[in-house]
């Protein structure tokens, strides 16, 4: 795709007034986007600076969150954010891979578009709907059936029984991770699908030609070829999971403490900001701590996104 060659019309000024205005507007909007991002990062940092100043770098590692004694720390929320996203990915990636594999290799042609669209619609459902569905449908199932079953299963096994222990609230880190997984599946599946489709047909055909099964082609040809982009797609899903607010707030059990069991309650940065922001007095240490948490979340998301873009880039050049 080349840019058109511009030959100025003779007898007129080299750059018309219209061109100048338009070009300036275009460049200015580019600048506006840069300003927006800078503004967001800056406002979060400045807002949170009181917390950093008060607690020092220890803020990031402290597990306290005590509004009465005015002691705040970021570790509980950071932990909640990271662990729910990690578990969500562990649950979502295999399913997304299965969907992508199905849609690219196994499904008959007539099925691909409707099924593909249906999976993509999962991505379109707003977060608060996931919150409601999670709270009213998934939580009762978790507390009455799934959690007790898992707790009983691991009961008696030394280390694992503490990881999957008591009481079956229904809400908690695991449930939040489950809902996040459902939200992330369509993103990862769509990226994987696009990326699987970029494998040149000739590679796959030669593999089929020597008698490979479909799975062997996927495992030995497609996956190695697209490995980097697949990881990029997973990182994209991770980025989405990190910032989810409404879906998590309804089901995570909202406790400001790190719990050893995966069924325990917790908080993510997004959920604690959503819950405690409205009642944080202006200029208070609590508000500053929440803004500092927002800044930390932004930094984490930024890093994840940067890595994902780096990994997804080679695909654009055909690999």
């Amino acid at each position: 795709m080349q840019q058109a060659i511009i030959i100025p019309a003779s007898g007129r000024a080299r750059r018309g007034f219209g061109d100048a205005v338009f070009a300036t507007t275009a460049r200015a909007s580019g600048g506006l986007v840069l300003l927006l991002l800078g503004g967001i990062i800056l406002s979060l940092f400045i807002g949170g600076i009181a917390a950093f100043r008060e607690f020092g770098p220890g803020f990031v590692f402290s597990t306290e969150w005590d509004p009465v004694h005015q002691k705040f720390g970021a570790l509980v929320s950071i932990y909640g954010t990271l662990i729910t996203s990690a578990i969500a990915l562990v649950l979502a990636v295999p399913v997304a891979f299965g969907v992508a594999f199905f849609l690219t290799e196994l499904a008959p042609a007539w099925m691909r578009r409707p099924v593909g669209t249906a999976i993509e619609l999962l991505a379109a459902v707003p977060s608060i709907i996931y919150g409601m569905w999670g709270f009213f449908v998934i939580v009762p199932i978790m507390s009455s059936t799934i959690q007790p079953a898992i707790i009983n299963f691991f009961d008696g096994i030394p280390v694992l029984q503490d990881l999957f222990a008591g009481p079956p609230f229904g809400t908690g880190i695991f449930t939040a991770a489950l809902i996040l997984a459902v939200m992330v599946i369509p993103f990862v599946a769509a990226t994987m699908r696009d990326v699987f489709d970029t494998v040149p047909a000739v590679y796959k055909e030669s593999a089929y030609g020597v008698g490979c099964t479909t799975w062997e082609v996927m495992r030995s040809i497609v996956l190695p070829y697209t490995r980097v982009s697949v990881v990029g797609g997973i990182m994209l899903g991770l980025g989405r999971a990190l910032g989810e607010t409404m879906a998590v707030t309804f089901v995570i059990g909202n406790a400001d403490r790190i719990s050893e069991t995966v069924f325990g309650s917790g908080n993510t940065i997004a959920s604690i900001v959503a819950l405690e922001f409205p009642e944080s007095p202006q200029g208070s240490l609590k508000l500053a701590s929440l803004l500092a948490l927002g800044f930390i979340l932004f930094v984490i998301s930024f890093i994840v996104l940067a890595i994902s873009r780096m990994l997804l880039k080679p695909k654009a050049t055909g690999g």
């Binding site: 306290e64 969150w65 005590d66 509004p67 009465v68 004694h69 709270f135 939580v139 009762p140 507390s143 009455s144 008591g166 009481p167 079956p168 609230f169 229904g170 809400t171 908690g172 707030t249 309804f250 059990g253 909202n254 406790a255 400001d256 403490r257 325990g264 309650s265 819950l275 405690e276 409205p278 009642e279 944080s280 007095p281 202006q282």
Partner: protein
């Protein structure tokens, strides 16, 4: 197409109707008081000419909003400290009284069967008593078969005045709770799960056998939750009934407190319910617009004059007439008529 245009036409007509001489006031805060303020607004609209926009975002948030003067009045179940009132130039007055119930989910145990005391409740929420068949609980529930289930404590996840009332009561009953956790709209709970809103707490307790939580009495009553008996100051176990709430409120001595900041927890009296509180409204002493303050006062004045029946029907206890009179006098400090 026609349905939409009809709906739009009706909407526009509705707007034009509302456009005549009505003052719109905004309030925010206590979820506990939301039903009564809403009903008062509806019933008194024609008489007062005041329209209320009330956001039930929690007591802590309500205090925040009125401090920032982003609303006309704030509503909080937690009375604001005198020094904070002065610092933010606010005036405080109570509107109604309500009780907080303890709800449980124990297989085989029905409403108002389980007995609990303040210290035991505090130990449960501190995590010192972890099973329902613990000797401390069995001692006060002689003859009852308690299951060996783990206790699953539930609390309010959002900043809530109901949390304040509950933790204030626990602070009175347990020195350890007072020093370790304290009381506020939002505290560092030692254990348990949080539920969003009163509904969240009730739903979570109902989902999990062995669950225990706290909720506003009106809500517990409406939804037929399994409530527990509590031991009051006189050593008697009482059920969370209207009579018990009225008994506790009746003992209150309003003359001894400043800014109406009465604490109705653990009131004396054989029939009193121990976990109760008034809910408060905060008005600015330097309002941006005097008309708004006048409208707020008019709204609550109507509620005091004519709203007692509505209050009792929603399971709130109206304030005594003497307190109403004292409030009207206190209103004189706020600019604007009334």
């Amino acid at each position: 197409m026609t349905f939409r245009t009809t709906a739009l036409a009706i909407a526009l007509a509705g707007f034009s109707f509302a456009a005549h001489a009505q003052t719109q006031i905004t309030g925010a805060g206590s979820t506990f008081a939301a039903p009564i303020y809403g009903k008062w607004a509806e019933a008194g609209a024609t008489a007062t000419g005041v329209k209320l926009n009330y956001q039930a975002i929690g007591s802590g948030a309500g205090i925040n909003q009125i401090n920032n003067r982003t609303v006309d009045f704030g509503a909080s179940d937690m009375p604001v400290k005198a020094e904070d009132l002065t610092a933010h130039k606010l005036m405080q007055f109570p509107t109604v009284i309500g009780g907080v119930d303890i709800i449980v989910n124990l297989p085989g145990i029905k409403a108002n069967e389980l007995k609990l005391t303040g210290p035991v409740l505090a130990d449960i929420y501190l995590g010192k008593i972890t099973k329902w068949n613990d000797p401390e609980i069995a001692k006060i529930n002689a003859g009852m078969k308690l299951p060996s289930l783990a206790i699953a404590t539930v609390h309010r996840a959002d900043g809530s005045g109901t949390t304040f009332v509950f933790t204030d009561y626990l602070s009175m009953q347990s020195a350890e709770w007072k020093s370790k956790v304290g009381s506020s709209t939002s505290v560092a709970w030692p254990n348990g799960a949080g539920g969003k809103g009163s509904d969240g707490v009730a739903a979570t307790v109902q989902h999990i056998p062995g669950g225990i939580g706290y909720d506003e009495s009106a809500y517990a009553e409406q939804n037929h939750l399994t409530t527990a008996l509590m031991m009051n100051k006189a050593g008697k176990f009482v059920a969370p009934t209207m009579a018990a709430f009225v008994a506790a409120a009746g003992n209150a001595d309003w003359s001894k407190v400043q800014n109406f900041a009465i604490d109705l927890n653990d009131q004396p009296g054989a029939a009193s319910w121990p976990i109760e509180s008034a809910t408060f409204v905060l008005l600015p002493l330097d309002p941006k617009d005097e008309k708004q303050s006048t409208a707020v006062k008019k709204f609550f004045d109507w509620g005091f004059e004519h709203g007692d029946d509505i209050a009792t029907s929603l399971l709130y206890i109206p304030l005594p007439q003497s307190v109403h009179a004292a409030i009207r006098t206190a209103w004189k400090a706020v600019p604007g008529t009334m």
